[in-house]
Amino acid sequence: MIEAIFNYEFLQNAFLSGIIIGIIAPLLGLFIVVRRLALIADALSHVALAGIAGSLYLSQQVLFLSALNPIYLGMAAAVGGSLLIERLRGAYRHFEELAIPIILSAGIGVGAIFISLAKGFGTDLVGYLFGSVSAVSRQDLGIVAFIALCVIGFVYFFYKELFALSFDREYAKVSGVQGKLIQTIFMIIVALVIGASMRIVGILLVSSLMTLPVAAAIQLAKSFKGAMLYSIAIGELSVLIGLVSAYYLDIAPGGTIVITSVIILLLVLLFKKTWQKMVRTKGEADVV
């Protein structure tokens, strides 16, 4: 496997992209999960599907668009969807979560229309839906690396504002944190990460990489920084194990990455339960 990575450019692209995504997806995912907005990633990935399907359809119909990388339109659709979610959350102040199913349905609807119009896209679309080891190009890797820089820079410079807004939005607003602006940038960045991740994990599974490592991390962490580090470590482990398994089994990596995350989550839950039981038993023994 190691030899193959050195010999084949497509494997280098897939692994490097995977390593980068393993950092940035759970990093942003933590802020999404603690704000109880885990379904936002799902909604945006389905909007990205509409963009990808639209791009693939247009590339069939319009000759000069045939060379256009579908990731661009997928990302543009996700960014548009993220801004619409923010608008809708403002319109439904008492039912903010309603914005998510509205955008999710719209994304699937538009995607289904383009797929039907094009009479299916075969393996191209399957690669986008479930990820692909072989489909990541150098250009895709470049996009992923650029987006990673934006994400890490954003979290580095706005960490304290993101924490304050995530922990207590009302307090953050009272203390003068620029909530609206930061939230809008955050949503755009989430959309870009979804766009960047879909080549490796696939549109249908990208939200899992943002939420499952975080779900495991918050079981272990005592602090927010700890939760962030655990999330990235678990995300990275899931991506690496998932990619290696996908390579040997010759299947789409999205499924193996997500199933690895699920297994890690289950192991963490089992470990925590056993640990708590041991502590309780020891406490009872000490009392006796």
Partner: protein, 256 residues
Amino acid sequence: MKNTIIECKDVSFTYDHTDVLEHISLEVKEGEFWALIGPNGSGKSTLIKLILGLIKPSSGSIKLFGEEMSSFRQRERIGYVSQKSNAFNSGFPATVLEVVRSGLTRKTGLFKRFTKRDDQQAMEALKIVKMDPYHSRPIGELSGGQQQRVFIARALVGKPDLLIMDEPTVGIDQQNIASFYSMLQTLNREHGIAILLVTHEIDIVTDLASHVACLNRTIHFHGVQSDYKKMDDIDISNWYGHPVRRVHQSDREAER
């Protein structure tokens, strides 16, 4: 001469064609401890939201530290403690120190990261509320009273001149309420922080606050504590809308 830090002039607020607050005029000066009392639904929390700038009045004007609300930027001069249950996810993975330090977000400034000095400041705020031994504990593992102390430390960490609290004792057991209020008195008397406390516990305020404002859609009384104590329970019952009997400190001591 003390400076005015909150100035509400003829403030009214209408929501969904209903008059929630009418013609509110109130002045809070530095170092004062105000208790804002009134029955449920009297508009206390709405008035606090107006003062904090979370909502805009339908008419009238609000000034903070002498500045119109629309142009007020010195947010770090105000510490705010809300009803804990409304704003807090107890499963949030954060330590007490991380939560308190977040009170310095605005003061530290955009693009800047927290420093060791910010951590020290957070520890000092925790010492004031006697929660410094818990600084590395996850916030969700503390009791209701301890969490509320942490939120007060978060409000204090930026060294505010004014502390606004909206029913801060919600979720705190009776045993801890007395020590909680005595801590507020210390903050006011020893640290000189002006306090605006929203509460429905009309007995405690008579012993604690320097000034009292009675609200039920409009201000029925505002003035110093001694004048409030002289008021007849029947008058208070009239604007409260149901019979009210205040128990003063002297009555409580006699009962013992």
